[in-house]
Amino acid sequence: MSEFLKILENEVQLVALAFMSAVYVLRLLWMFRFKAPQDFSYGVGSSKVGVAYSMMNVAMPWAMESVRRNWSFYFQFVIFHLGVVAAISATFIIPYWPQLFDVKVVVWIFQITLAAAFFVGILRLIRRISKPALRLISTPDDYFSLILMTSFFASGVFAVPNKHTAGEWPLIIFFAMTTFFLIYVPFSKISHYLYYPFTRYFLGKLMGHRGVFPRKRGGEKPAGLDNEKALTK
């Protein structure tokens, strides 16, 4: 392995990762500068249960009509994010646990996942370009982030065999993209996972307190009979 690739896989990644972490810390501090809303009313449900339900929403596709009307989008979401997990894992496995990619089955699993995520990325790009409503709301950041992620998956397919003896370019491209990602992500929509806990927490807390979450599907006992305690509080 060349010295350049070695530094790129290690020191450069660590510096970029430290940069991203520092920016995220600042970002979180910025978020916490804003006051959290307070609730002064008696609840009929549990805020904690509501928060848990809200956070788990991602694993309950049946709970949202938008998904029930569009199951393929949910599967695309799952595949795309599995691709993200695979790509991020590969950035650590290659430099720090390379022997794992000596196991062919593991390489295949990663390659299939990344390839599938790549195709989903292409589908998402087509969807974003072809639907007028999505075109209207899409920003350059939306397009760029999607193209970047999709390309990252593609580069990952070639990088995970980790065969630098056969040529270092796939690895150089993969780690160069990783470095760029680590620096760019905190300023782009890709960092939505940082905000997800906030939005989901507050929505879950509110809806849990009011008994809206967990969602009722019918047949439950009315609160008038069930929650006498809350009513007479």
Binding site: F34, K35, A133, I137, L206, K216, R217
Partner: protein, 477 residues
């Protein structure tokens, strides 16, 4: 049900009409003179004021919704505006949310401040831009929260719309109807400008009617009676246009042998602050009611049938007023369930034999907690209850929510998007649609007339009162 789609530019370019605002200034209406209700001033820097107000209103929950949208477009799958106008991309909830989000990004977010074009960050340049913003947030969204519950990220677009409405209300850049109703509620303590005499006369009239019906001439709706089991609060529409609903409630409470009262002041459980985004008005109205209950030493507050009224009084009002709840409050539905389940009233479902379906009010199903309660009651007071699909928190707005009924200029768009609700009603095959919201009564009534449906709107109290087996004269506590 096919009709010509209106041009959205005609809606978005509707001008600001400050006629009523000018009149209020000339007449020195106290809430305007004292600055509680703002009027539009073309000579001030409204953009600057807007930004200052925005900064002061940001909290962690709002900032989350400002930053978390990934523009996935899932909200477009569920909004009745989009479903009724699929050709119009400006109907997408994320687009509506983006109108305030872009301002937030431009002034408060990192990327938007440095490279605004990259994230479509921008600022309103003048009052014309803000007038357009007014038409988007007041005219193209009823704040039903359907998109909120269907957003994978948990972005609360309805809260962003309400926030923007509130900022514009502080500048007087609002539809004329919003100004007028806000003024009425500030001035009279109720949305419809009902005077105290009108209110008391109506209660007296209803006392006589109910007394006659139950054969008890001594029956009386008590006003400001202390130490009752509950204080009953109503929608001013009941006084103005539908007093029989007060009579129905009174008859049922009588049959249950209830100890109850209505307050002389603080009886309006509706709250236009929810619609205008004006937390100060919201706090004022809610506090009137909470303090009335406290003064009367009522054990509970019972809220009549009203979607936004229930949400405002039961939930939001305490937060707007920063008033720690000290008296339990409940919907009249819960009271009815208690009566039926404890055998305090008897009902005969054969009195309601028409096929009836139930429409869940957005403010109750998605922002409240009552979805099973009305069904529990309807199944006991009607013989032919038919579920509407989708229902509960998935139900569609009646299209009269979010204060839309007071904004006549947006009615053509409202009626166009009502075709989703109209189809939902037709599919039930019911002859009656029951709702627990006075706004929905009018919203559904409008669309039933517009789409010429063979259906009538009723409320739970109507059906329970109709099914009520009136007992022999009962001792009132």
């Amino acid at each position: 049900m096919i009709e010509k789609s209106i041009n959205i530019e005609d809606v978005l370019s509707l001008p600001l009409d400050p006629k009523e605002q000018k009149k209020a200034v000339e007449e020195k209406v106290p809430c305007v003179a004292e600055g509680r209700l703002k009027v539009y001033d073309p000579n001030t820097n409204n953009v600057k004021k807007f930004l200052e107000l925005l900064q002061s209103r940001l909290n962690r929950s709002v900032v989350g919704s400002m930053t978390a949208c990934v523009h996935c477009g899932m909200c477009s799958e569920v909004c009745h505006y989009v479903l009724a106008r699929p050709h119009d991309p400006t109907m997408v909830p994320a687009y509506k949310g983006d109108q305030i989000r872009r301002i937030f990004k431009k002034h408060f977010d990192w990327t938007g401040r440095i490279i605004p074009w990259w994230v479509h960050a921008g600022s309103p340049k003048n009052d014309e831009d803000m007038n357009r913003l007014k038409n988007i947030v007041f005219g193209t969204c009823t704040g039903c929260r359907r998109c909120t519950l269907n957003c994978p990220m948990g972005v609360d677009t309805a809260i962003l719309v309400r926030l923007t409405r509130g900022l514009l209300t502080e500048l007087g850049i609002v539809p004329e109807g919003v100004f007028v109703v806000s003024k009425d509620q500030w001035e009279t303590g109720n949305q419809m400008g009902v005077t105290e005499d009108e209110y008391l006369e109506t209660l007296e009239w209803m006392s006589e009617e109910v007394g006659e019906e139950i054969g008890d001439p001594t029956f009386k709706i008590h006003v400001d009676k202390e130490d009752c089991d509950f204080m009953y609060t109503i929608n001013p529409r009941e006084v103005k246009y539908d007093p029989r609903s007060i009579g129905h409630a009174a008859k049922i409470f009588y049959a249950a042998g209830e100890s109850w009262t209505m307050p002389r002041w603080g009886w309006d459980m509706t709250n236009f602050g929810l619609f205008s985004g004006d937390d100060k008005l919201g706090a004022f109205v809610a506090k009137n009611l909470y303090e009335a209950a406290k003064k009367l030493r009522a054990k509970r507050i019972v809220i009549s049938e009203c979607g936004h009224g229930y949400r405002s009084t039961r939930w939001e009002g305490y937060n707007w007023a920063k008033y720690s709840q000290d008296i339990s409050s409940e919907s009249v539905l819960v009271t009815l369930i208690r009566y039926i389940s404890q055998g305090r009233i008897k009902v005969d479902p054969s009195k309601n034999s028409l096929p009836v379906t139930f429409h869940d009010s957005c403010n109750i199903a998605r922002s409240g907690d009552l979805t099973e309660e009305p069904r529990w009651i309807l199944k006991r007071v009607c013989t032919d209850f038919r579920e509407m699909f989708p229902n509960r928190a998935d139900n569609f707005c009646c299209t009269g929510g979010g204060g839309a009924l007071s904004m006549v200029e947006y009615k053509p768009l409202r009626m166009e998007v009502a075709k989703i609700k109209a189809q939902q009603l037709i599919d039930t095959g019911a002859k009656q649609v029951c709702t627990i919201c006075h706004n929905c009564v009018d919203g559904l009534g409008d669309l039933i007339r517009h789409y010429k449906l063979d259906m009538q709107v009723v409320q739970v109290l109507d059906l329970v009162a109709n099914a009520l087996v009136v007992p022999e004269k009962k001792e009132e506590k």
